[in-house]
């Protein structure tokens, strides 16, 4: 085989360049700023993202999600599936196998005992484990041999990947936490502030609610990593100053969660020291349509299925409302790089994202008008508002108080007025709107309005529970104190059948097909109008390499691969 000269040269330079790169701790210190400061390094005692992510440098799970949302084995050797025999045919048990030769940062080996102990720790009575939900459904854990554990579920589990997956449920060292079970968990300050882990770094000093310094883990399984010898993890401040510290002054290499106005961020980025990066998960800003009548005169039957909506129960009206919206402009004005247009309520992970609804990406006012004309909604009295049989297309549009949402309301009101729909706007304080207080008339569950706008996402990567939100039975009603997730009051037997089918399907690609079908049904009946897929935004210095922003797991999930680039 013959290679052209430049390929050889490239190979040679890369080989010669490697030794300097491939030495653990050769590249000094990396500075990270989180504008919320971590207060504990044990993810089982805190639900806060800041704490989970600070702990993710030290503690690691058996498997985690990469930036595309697919599962990758981490401490485990492989992902268990029915095909490779690790998940039983009846879906009631799963076997995890640890990699060979793993050791804790104190030099002792990682064993199946530690995995089982982690479950004991989180499910011990009186412990108040913040991640208990991850372990729900596990009946027992058997230790098969020092590297293998078998989890038994209390019933068939079509998606068994919850325990020991992701930054929320990493493996703890049994030797360190053995005396910290149950009510004693919060008292173990030494352990909770400096857990022994398998990750690329170990805690050197932890000052709660201020700063953490880490040093490279001498026992880390890849001898060439991490490239940095130290990490300085500073907490506190606000999003604007954190962005400035990376993008303008260069004091820090990485800043987290920078939800700032698009032009503020782009002005800072133009200083040339760093880059803004974003990644997209499942958080979708949407307009939810009320299929029931919210008229004040109906008393307790307001916004219940007893009275269908006078005009929003007409699918043509709902479609026209969707067509009139210029989603690209909403993204540009409201979110910039932190948002993208979506036509799906389930926009990610990639295998679940449908491409059947992409028509919504273009605003089409003439078509919206034609649709309304065809459906018989015409402006018969010349007041600029379409009507039919004495019912005028006049809407109350509510949302929470938030500068971006009020801008969206104003824009959408103007577009809807162009197709002959009159809109009255209302904004409600977020703590009331999302407060779920059955005594308040202004909650999003009561939905005493015709349309409303907010954002929702789901935890993890499996959309089954999220899509089940539109089940007929989950409608908020006065009988269930307005608790329920089916805010549109959608009710379809075919959709409920898909939910049931999803609960019995284990194969990932079959599940994805059902999920897409459910998404398409909601979208094509215009039950809700997705607007913007909102992402996570972070910033890193130009000299920092290896950042792969991940919305499915800790943002610092691959910090072992971070390195200093030559500029």
């Amino acid at each position: 085989m013959r290679y052209p000269g430049f390929v050889l040269a490239a190979v040679l330079t890369s080989v010669m360049g490697l030794p300097a790169q491939a030495e653990r701790g050769a590249q000094g210190q990396v500075n990270i700023i989180y504008w919320q400061a971590p207060s504990i390094l044990n993810p089982y005692l805190s639900g806060g993202t800041k704490d989970l992510e600070a702990a993710s440098l030290i503690l690691e799970p058996l498997a985690r999600y990469d930036e595309t949302g697919s599962m990758v084995p981490w401490l485990a050797e492989r992902i268990p599936t029915v095909e490779n025999g690790d998940v039983s045919e009846d879906l009631t048990s799963i076997i995890w196998t640890l990699q060979e030769g793993l050791s804790w940062s104190d030099g002792t080996p990682v064993t199946a005992q530690d995995v089982k102990f982690t479950w004991d720790y989180c499910t011990a009575p009186g412990g108040g484990c913040a991640q208990a939900e991850k372990y729900s459904g596990i009946e027992a854990i058997d230790i098969l041999d020092p590297r293998r554990v078998k989890l038994h579920f209390d019933g068939p589990m079509p998606f068994p990947y919850s325990a020991f997956i992701g930054a929320q449920s990493p493996i703890l060292q049994k030797a360190q936490f053995a005396d910290c079970l149950g009510p004693r968990a919060p008292e173990c300050t030494a352990q909770n502030f400096a857990p022994v882990g398998t990750g690329p770094f170990v805690v050197e000093e932890f000052r709660p609610n201020d700063v953490i310094t880490y040093t490279a883990n001498p026992e880390y399984r890849d001898p060439a990593k991490p490239a940095f010898a130290r990490v300085l993890f500073k907490g506190g401040g606000d999003a604007t100053s954190a962005a400035r510290a990376v993008l303008e002054t260069g004091e820090f290499d990485y800043a987290w969660n920078l939800q700032l106005a698009p032009d503020v961020l782009s002005n800072m980025e133009s200083a040339g020291r760093g880059r803004v990066v974003s990644a997209f998960g499942t958080l979708v800003e949407r307009i939810v349509i009320n299929l029931t009548d919210p008229a004040r005169g109906l008393g307790p039957a307001r916004s219940t299925r007893a009275h269908p909506h006078p005009f929003l129960s007409d699918a043509a009206v709902r479609q026209a409302l969707s067509l009139a919206i210029d989603r690209a402009l909403l993204v540009e004005l409201g979110y910039g790089t932190a948002g993208r247009v979506t036509c799906n309520v389930l926009p990610a992970p990639a295998i679940y994202a449908s491409d059947a609804n992409d028509a919504c990406k273009r605003q089409d006012i003439p078509r919206a008008k034609a649709l309304l004309d065809m459906a018989g909604w015409i402006d018969s009295n010349g007041d600029g508002v379409r009507d039919k049989d004495g019912v005028a297309l006049s809407l109350l549009f509510q949302t929470s108080t938030n500068a971006v949402r009020q801008d969206f309301q104003a824009l959408i009101k103007q577009w809807w007025s162009q197709i002959g729909v009159e809109t009255e706007l209302r904004n409600i304080d977020a703590s009331v709107f999302f407060g779920s207080d059955p005594g308040s008339p202004d909650t999003f569950q009561k939905f005493y309005a015709d349309v409303q706008m907010y954002a929702r996402n789901f935890d993890g990567t499996d959309p089954a529970a999220y899509l089940a939100n539109w089940q007929c039975d989950k409608t908020p009603t006065p009988e269930n104190q307005w608790q329920g997730s089916n805010i549109s009051r959608y009710c379809s037997e075919a959709y409920d059948a898909l939910i049931a089918q999803m609960q019995q399907t284990a194969d990932i690609s079959a599940r994805a097909a059902i999920a897409r079908a459910m998404n398409d049904r909601l979208m094509q009946e215009f039950i809700l109008l997705p607007l913007v897929d909102r992402g996570r935004v972070a910033a890193h210095a130009n000299s920092l390499g290896g950042v792969r922003l991940n919305v499915w797991d800790s943002e610092l999930w691959n910090i072992a691969d971070w390195h200093r680039k030559d500029l």
Binding site: D263, N267, Q406, Q409, Q414, D429, P441, D442
Partner: protein
């Protein structure tokens, strides 16, 4: 007691005109009122019209105050917002002055009312204002907008809510001055001549406490304008696309560093209004104060 101590009107007008502060303040206030009344009729751009292509502009010929983040004309919005803010501010101020003066006079003149009324004032002062307003809005919004329509209902509610929760300072000031006046010779003389308590209050005490009332009224106007914006911000005032000075100001705060004009224009409008009303009040007080003549 038929001839009131208040000077006849032509005399009052002449004395007001001799106060340069009052003339300046009154003139400025008249200009502002005229501008917000007539301005929106003359200015061609509607306040809610969105022109995304023209967003984030600084002051220029087409948009003298610039445009906001959606391309709405700030000048049109300031003019429109002035109507609502002035109407809310003046009406709420009137409600607060009426209540405060009444409570203060009653407490000052009738000894047996002093204790209960002042404790009531203390209770109102101790109540956290915003939560109280939120409860009022929540309880009465629907029933009021059912009777007066969404905008009319909110207007009445906001005026009553702000007026009903900002009368306490006026009441305390009026009571204090009344107590001092009550022991003065001319009041004792009037009482000795058989003047009834109500007449005593209206003819002898009220004209003498008018100056602090007017000053607290001028200050109350600005508070009312800003409180309205706080309510709108919490989602309990006017609909979000309804421009008011307070809302324009609070919307502009996040853009303060990049587009300061957007906050300065409504802020200046509020300041000028308050300043002109204060000067006018000052002048009126001097013109009416019997001791200065």
């Amino acid at each position: 007691m038929s001839d009131a101590p208040l000077a006849p009107v032509p005399g009052l007008a002449r004395r007001v005109l001799h106060q340069p502060g009052a003339v300046l303040g009154g003139g400025l206030f008249a200009v502002i009122v005229l501008a917000v009344l007539i301005g929106p009729l003359l200015w061609p751009i509607a306040p809610e019209f969105i022109d995304v292509a023209a967003r984030n502009q600084g002051p220029n010929l087409a948009h003298p105050f610039g445009t906001d983040q959606l391309g709405r004309d700030t000048f049109a919005r300031v003019l429109w917002g002035g109507r609502i803010s002035l109407a809310v501010g003046l009406s709420a101020m009137a409600v607060a002055l009426l209540l405060g003066t009444l409570v203060g006079l009653l407490a000052g003149v009738f000894r047996w009312l002093d204790g209960p009324l002042m404790r009531l004032t203390d209770v109102f002062l101790a109540l956290p204002l915003l939560p109280l307003l939120l409860v009022m809005v929540l309880l009465f919004r629907d029933s009021l907008s059912g009777v007066f329509g969404p905008e009319g209902g909110i207007f009445i509610l906001i005026v009553l809510a702000i007026g009903g929760t900002s009368w306490m300072n006026t009441a305390r000031i009026v009571r204090g001055d009344t107590l001092a006046l009550r022991e003065r010779e001319f009041v004792l003389a009037a009482r000795a001549a058989g003047c009834r308590p109500v007449a005593l209050m209206l003819r002898h005490i009220l004209p003498n406490v008018l100056s602090p009332i007017l000053v607290s009224g001028a200050l109350g106007l600005s508070t009312a304008i800003v409180t309205e914006s706080a309510l709108s911000f919490l989602g309990l005032g006017f609909p979000p696309d309804f421009p008011t000075w307070g809302r324009l100001l609070s919307d502009a705060v996040i853009y303060l560093a990049d587009y300061p004009a957007r906050a300065i224009c409504p802020g200046l409008a509020i300041s000028l209004t308050v300043l002109s009303v204060t000067y006018l009040g000052d002048g009126l007080r001097d013109a009416m104060d019997p001791r200065l003549h």
